[in-house]
Structure formats: structure tokens, C-alpha cells
Symmetry: C2
Subunit: 291 residues, 2 copies
């Protein structure tokens, strides 16, 4: 496994890998480090489906808002590196901030509308930062396939739309959420939670699981699905609801909660929620259909 | 010469060209058609420097403002096609609007700051539209070199910055302005001018040429350069000034007109002006240095 910090070096290495065989495919897993089993499931899938696996570790300042946790976001390169080595990753790309955003940097890409709903409402510049860094990384690495987690369903939908609309030659894969045994979706931010907060946080997967069961039992009314989730989330005083939304999966358009509700689509629906537990923002979701 | 209208077909053709030889280089000239000698000078340079020359013809709706001339912008594909054939162009890419912007299209790239000054002040979404279509075309064609005219100096600066900041593998070439014998810079929009308007329009190149002479004679004061150009432009009642600016070439930052002015840089200065003659907007410039 090679660890590379600069763009010219990773580009040279990728070129070399490409030239070593006509049919070689390159798979790419972009991360912000602080790796957990969710990331590792992406790396494993990437290894299985591609000849060369590249993982980037870059805490992307452009996707954090001014009052968010960029500074305290967990960083542990040594541990990440040894986990990736264990999994047989070929290349780690670990650039410094100025390597990605040199002084005076000013080019940004935005998937309009999709980036302004759901998480985009409380994080208005987040997806612009995500799309920009992912586009740059795609241009540097030129992967055949790139892997994202469905916990960040909105992110996966946006990246997939960006790749299609900007005519990129990359297949976007969105893989299932990995959960702790208690149900909480894995997130690098879970380390922020105190034991009491973690207990409260469990209302989030529980509320979504209950909604999923009700849909399986025949519930199709978007307003009722939302109301059920909100009721569950309000059970804990430690937890505040950022949003609960039932939206189309491809266009992220909310099913409006008209009187009597609106019926969800059985193969194109995202049910997503975001909460704050103390200072920690957590998201979770389930989808009907495929990203 | 092949004429291709769809993205999958041009991609297949480009792949085929690439596979025909290890060292083959692809040159690309993006245009909106209504070709004149300015465009053709780009095509000629492209032919000389590359094995394969691709020209796109696409009147890009995204770079026109709501009250601009998208509908009446001159279109004459047959004439364009025969000129390009004459010059030995290999591929024309001539997509329909929906091929580039399918319904619901929403991904845009912006070079912030650079796109908001000079022409960006009166055309606030123009360079976002330009950057987006050029990025898409670059992703589709994957050229080694792309050719732009210096008449649109701001555009060339923005595209060059975008290519660098998004880590694209393309060299941006900005070639000299081509002028009619009377001095007017060639533009597809010159056909809009009545004879009287054309006479008035000549104040624009005349004012810039006079400024260039004064700089050659030693004038370095940005405020005085601007004032001289404005005085010349105000001589015609048919002509209204949109802007006259003296700015750094790389960052498009105006040299402020403080009392006594500010001294221009001898190798990093853009002197640019935009005027309206009747309903027609015309731009012209000269540069000290290289884009």
C-alpha cells in the first residue's frame, strides 16, 4: 500500500496503474477519515469489484458551515492507515488542505435544488462543498467506480446526479447503512455522544424502523409516516428534531402533507430524518428503491 | 469530417481516435457557431498543434440572461459546416439543447469573484453558464488542448482558472483577437449593427488602441488610462459605456482609481471595455502579459 500526499504524485501513480493493463479498473472510496465499519464495507466492495482500490482521506473544510465541527472533527490517520492496509487497499490519497484548495481557490460546483432541501436547509453550503471536493477527487483519480454510503442518502443522490449531468465516466455505487448492534447508524460523529446522549440517539433508528414496519404493513400516506416518526423522536427531551422528510428518491421532492397525506411511491421514496443530540447532529434514513 | 449530434456517439468516436495511436492528441474549439475569422484562427492553430481537431457548435442557453439575445443569436450551420470542412476539421459536435441540458438539469459550476466583475456585473449568470457548458464539453471530448479567443479575455481567464482548480487535464490556449480592416474586433454579434452603429462602434477599438499607445509611451496610471478611454467612448451619442476597467489579468482585480491612480503591472494587466451600440453589446480589450 502506498500513501501519497500530492496531486502530481497520485496522478503519476494512477497513470502507471492504468498503463499496467488494458482492462484494469480503478475503484475509489472518498472519506474524511475516522474510519468505521461503514467506510470499511465500501472499501471491501471496492476491492472486490476493481483491480485497484484508492481511498482518499481529507477532512474537507468546504463542506463544514462556519459554526460546525470542522476543527474538532475526529482525525486519526495512523489507525485509518492500518485498517486500510489490513484490507489490501492499494493507494491512500492523503492531501493537505492547500493541496486541494490552494490560496485564492474559487471554483465550486453546485447541484441546485437537490442541495437545498433536507440537510441542505440547515447546512446551506454543505453539498456545494461535497460536490466540489468529490468532482476534484474524481478528476484527479479518474475512477471507474466510486463508493458512497446510503446513510448519507442525499449526498449519494447529489453525487450521482452531478456525475450524470457533468458527463463524468464514473459509476456511483451507494451501499447499505452499517449499524451498531443497538441500531444506531455508524458515523464518525458518534464518538461525540455521552452515554445518555447515545441512549437518546437510539430513538432515531427506532423511529425509522417503526415507520418501515408500518409501510411494509401497508401504510402509504406520507403525512402519517412523518407524524409517526416525529412522535417517536419527541419522546426524548435530549433530542431535538431538525427535520423528518418523506421525499422522492431521485429528485428529493417532498411528498406534500396535504389533508389525508400523499401516497408514497413504492420504489422511489426516501424517508430521512436529522436530529440534534446535545451538540451532535445525527442523520438516518431508509429508502424504497435504489439510488 | 464527421458531424455528430449525440454524446454517446461523440464519446465512442473520441475513444476510437484515442485508440488509433498512443501519442494522438486531441484539440478542441468550443463555439456557438456563426463562425468568423476569429473562430477560424483558433481552428487553424488547433489543427497545427493536434492530431485530431474537434469543433463544437452549440448556442448555449445557460450563458444568456433572460433579456439577452439567445433567440436571435445568429445561426447558420450549413455555412459553418462548410468552413470547417475546408479547414480539415475531423469532428463537429453539434448537439441539441436537450442533449446538453436534459429536462430538470441542475448542476452548475461557478468561478466565484472572477465571474462577477467586468462583464459579470451586467451579465451576472453569464460566466456560470459558460463555465458549466465548457466543463461538460471538456468531460465529453477530453481534449489535450482547448482554444479560446482573447476578445473574450475574461472568459479565457475564467476557463483557465476553472481547469486548474478542478484539476482538469487540458491546456487552455488563448489566441489573439482578429479584427476587421477598420479595427473592429470580429464578433458574431457584429451582424446586428446598422452602418451608422458600426461607425459608432469603431470608437471602441480606437479608444483601446489610443490607450495602448499611451502605455507604450510610458503611461502607467490606471485611473488616467480609464479616463482616456471613457473620453474617447463618450464622443459618439450612439454608444453607451457599460464599463471601462483596468484590472490584473490573473485575478481580474481592478487597479483602484485612487487620487493619482495606481500603477499598472507591465505583464499582468487587462484593459477591457464593454459598450452598447443600439441593442448590441460589444466588448474589446488588450492585455499586457499572457492569459
Amino acid at each position: 500500500m502506498k500513501m501519497i500526499k500530492t496531486i502530481p504524485e497520485i496522478q503519476a501513480e494512477i497513470r502507471k496503474q492504468r498503463e499496467q493493463g488494458q482492462a484494469r479498473t480503478i475503484g475509489f472510496v472518498p472519506t474524511m477519515g475516522a474510519l468505521h465499519q461503514g467506510h470499511l464495507s465500501l472499501v471491501q466492495a471496492c476491492r472486490e469489484e476493481n483491480d485497484v482500490t484508492v481511498v482518499s482521506i481529507f477532512v474537507n473544510p468546504a463542506q463544514f458551515g462556519p459554526n460546525e465541527d470542522f476543527e474538532k472533527y475526529p482525525r486519526d490517520f495512523q489507525t485509518d492507515e492500518s485498517m486500510l492496509k489490513e484490507l489490501g487497499v492499494d493507494l491512500i490519497f492523503y492531501p493537505a488542505k492547500d493541496e486541494i484548495y490552494p490560496p485564492g481557490y474559487s471554483t465550486y460546483v453546485e447541484v441546485e435544488k437537490l442541495g437545498q432541501v433536507l440537510c441542505g436547509k440547515s447546512r446551506p453550503t454543505h453539498f456545494k462543498g461535497v460536490a466540489t471536493v468529490v468532482l476534484k477527487l474524481f478528476n484527479i483519480i479518474k475512477p471507474d467506480r466510486a463508493y458512497f454510503g446510503r446513510k448519507d442518502a442525499q449526498q449519494a443522490v447529489i453525487i450521482k446526479r452531478m456525475a450524470a449531468e457533468l458527463n463524468l465516466d464514473v459509476t456511483i455505487k451507494a451501499l447499505p447503512i452499517v449499524r451498531d448492534p443497538d441500531g444506531l447508524a455508524l458515523s464518525s460523529r458518534n464518538v461525540y455522544l455521552s452515554p445518555a446522549e447515545r441512549g437518546a440517539a437510539l430513538h432515531l433508528p427506532r423511529a425509522l424502523m417503526r415507520a418501515q414496519e408500518r409501510i411494509q404493513a401497508g401504510l402509504k400516506d406520507a403525512a402519517e409516516i412523518k407524524a409517526g416518526i416525529e412522535t417517536e423522536l419527541r419522546k426524548s427531551p435530549l433530542l431535538t428534531v431538525d427535520y423528518v422528510e418523506v421525499a422522492t428518491l431521485d429528485g428529493l421532492e417532498p411528498f406534500p402533507g396535504s389533508p389525508g397525506g400523499q401516497l408514497i411511491a413504492s420504489n422511489n421514496t426516501l424517508v430521512a430524518a436529522a436530529v440534534k443530540v446535545g451538540k451532535t447532529r445525527l442523520i438516518d434514513n431508509f429508502i424504497l428503491g435504489e439510488i
